[in-house]
Symmetry: C2
Subunit: 413 residues, 2 copies
């Protein structure tokens, strides 16, 4: 068993085959959830899994479960997977890698005539990206109980098509109630979508959990005035205050290094005219930290700094938290299983927190969950230029294989 | 002569009558240059001046000259005036006050049977605001030789109508070559459009000159990246750098108090998405100072600060000066004349620099020029809520009257 390895070239070829569905001119993929291209990707996956001897089930959220039977059908399976939908200018790997790594695990077990005590399931979760239908992580969220099923099915895209109607249209409105089944564990492989592994040179990230996230809308109100005739001391310049708030936010993140990240991603100025002192500015702020207590303290400190800056500059400010996702700690046993597999395979590895949300972060609320990250070039993702190395993808898939075999108690037949 | 005073109520009523042309729902005026409303305003002015015994001339830029004869027709006249065109959401006073204060001076001289050695001319300059046709200060700029006549006449509005065609359409394409006449002096009364006089409680500002202006476009280029997965130390955040540049600009202005003003009026973020670190930011910067040397040094210091910030944050920055208007110093004799009139009339006054551009700033390049400012509420202008007090408007008009009488050598008949 220790010598078991996935087929690097087959994994790569499978990824490239899938990437042809919705391929973009710049080398990426565009497969928005529940479109014809999403259906084609699902159909291809189902065909491949059937050829690998798996039984297919689909639930009423369109989540697809491909089961490789175990020796004991009464035990909850070990599940793996991710999503096949992409961003509009998406890459070939985000999500897709997690699904096809699961398929490659099944194929490898078949090749080497390995049976497992527990069944193994490869899952395609519906609408992880949340681009066409909000919210994202929809299929895994309903499965984990964090998103209401009827709410999810009634969500509509910009043209007014609902999730439920589109599932039926593409033939993936399954008979099974979403969340009816359960797993012994869920393990997801994914590209990092950040630069940490590439910078450290480690092909494997042992994901210990996911950062919590808090989004703030900051509204600064001063007074429009003539840029030429208003002395500096008489100004109530909303943009000058917003600039100080942006600098303060960055200082707070650095003061909570290395885990805190904080970003002003959006900024809108009114009237946005060169020779008028801006009276209104809105900031869209994103703050993340793996510890809920620190995350809360960061937000409170930022609010205090905003109030101090606005008070000193005679402006009004309103800071509103508009979104909050608590941190997720993955199951210690699952994390240990992944770390042990990486060690035994002698791949360079390091612990890492996920900065982004994933289907696994939803699953972690219901079943023991772990994740494996592999590097992507420049940390780039949600971009047609998203890129990963075949050997890194194979290394991550080997770790997934060995973690699954351990959890499912595999043995040669 | 020392007891001569304008008619406060007549001046106010004349301003209110003019404001009915293009009146807006919120109490302002909208008379874009060379529209039917601009024609109606010009026609009303011409009628009033005719009733006051003036001779009317119009040049080929549509500038209108209403001449009250002097005892010696061979001497260049003392001219006053401003503009009747407004911003889209303009007020009742910006420009209009300067034109109608000139008319009130003529009416007052008529009432008291005062003759002057030199003729007196009240001028309406075409398209000061530059809203419908760029550039602004068009009529006075061509008159002063800073704007090319043919270039001005060929400028087109958003619908493709040219200045020349619109002048002909409204009947104000006059036979006289713009700039053919000259003046002994030009004196313009105007609302301050800033808060300085209101804060000091002085009804009269003795305008000694106009600030120079430099506009900069600053382009900061970093790299778009995921706000959740990119550590603080790995970021190339263009908005965070732009915020530091904004703070640095404000510090530079304060370091050159009280005369420097500097503003980031416009800021555009790309991709402007909350959970993406912004890779591109453009800043629209306005810097003003009455001393050309200091203005240049401020711009250079700002460029150095931008380069330092960008270098430290591993970003590219480009700072380009896209507009430069040198400072204007008004004629010392004209300034003294205005100051002496304010002192003799026992009005509170102070020296002041103009922060905005005016027709007088153009005229100053050709003829001895001065300006008189009166307060406006809250320093507000280019706004339908623009407001000024009848007694302040009358005080400014009295100063204009006495300055003109002195320069034109008035005496009772």
């Amino acid at each position: 068993m220790a010598n078991l390895r996935v087929d690097r070239d087959r994994l790569w070829a499978t990824l490239m085959d899938m990437a042809r569905i919705g391929a973009t001119a710049k080398g990426g993929s565009c497969r928005l959830a529940l479109t014809d291209d999403d259906k084609a990707a699902r159909d291809l996956f189902v065909r491949w899994c059937g050829e690998a001897g798996c039984r297919i089930a689909v639930d009423d959220l369109g989540n697809v479960f491909a089961t490789r039977a175990g020796r004991n059908a009464s035990l909850p399976p070990i599940a793996t997977g991710s999503h096949l939908d992409t961003q509009p200018h998406g890459g070939k790997f985000d999500g897709v890698y997690g699904v096809l790594a699961g398929l490659e695990v099944v194929r490898t077990l078949n090749d080497h005539d390995v049976s497992t005590e527990r069944p193994i399931e490869v899952v395609v979760w519906t609408n992880e990206e949340g681009v066409r239908f909000a919210p994202g992580v929809m299929g895994s969220g309903v499965f984990a109980g964090t998103i209401d099923r009827d709410h999810a099915l009634s969500q509509r895209d910009a043209r007014g098509c609902s999730v439920g109607a589109e599932l039926a249209r593409i033939g993936y409105a399954g008979p099974e109630a979403c969340g009816a089944r359960t797993f012994g564990a869920f393990l997801e492989a994914h590209i990092e979508q950040g630069p940490i592994l590439e910078m450290s040179g480690h092909p494997i990230g042992i994901v210990t959990g996911a950062q919590g996230l808090a989004w703030y809308d900051v509204c600064v109100v001063g007074e429009d005035a003539h840029a030429g005739t208003t002395p500096m001391t008489a100004r109530r310049d909303a943009l000058s205050a917003a600039a100080e708030m942006t600098v303060a936010l960055e200082e707070l993140a650095h003061a909570h290094a290395p885990h805190a990240v904080a970003t002003v991603g959006g900024l809108e100025v009114s009237p946005n005219s060169r020779n008028t002192i801006p009276g209104h500015v809105r900031l869209a702020v994103d703050v993340r930290h793996p510890d809920a207590t620190v995350l809360g303290a960061l937000g409170e400190a930022f609010e205090r700094r905003c109030a101090e800056i606005a008070g000193r500059k005679r402006l009004a400010v309103n800071v509103e938290r508009v979104e909050y996702v608590p941190p997720v700690a993955f199951d210690a046993d699952c994390v240990d299983t992944v770390r042990g597999a990486a060690r035994r395979l002698e791949h360079g590895y390091q612990d890492i927190m996920s900065g982004a949300g994933h289907d696994a972060c939803q699953l972690a609320r219901r079943v023991p969950t772990g994740m494996i990250f592999v590097p992507c070039a420049g940390g780039l993702s949600h971009n047609e230029a998203e890129s990963a190395q075949p050997q890194d993808l194979a290394a991550g898939c080997d770790v997934l294989l060995h973690a699954i075999v351990e959890r499912a108690r595999g043995q040669h037949r």
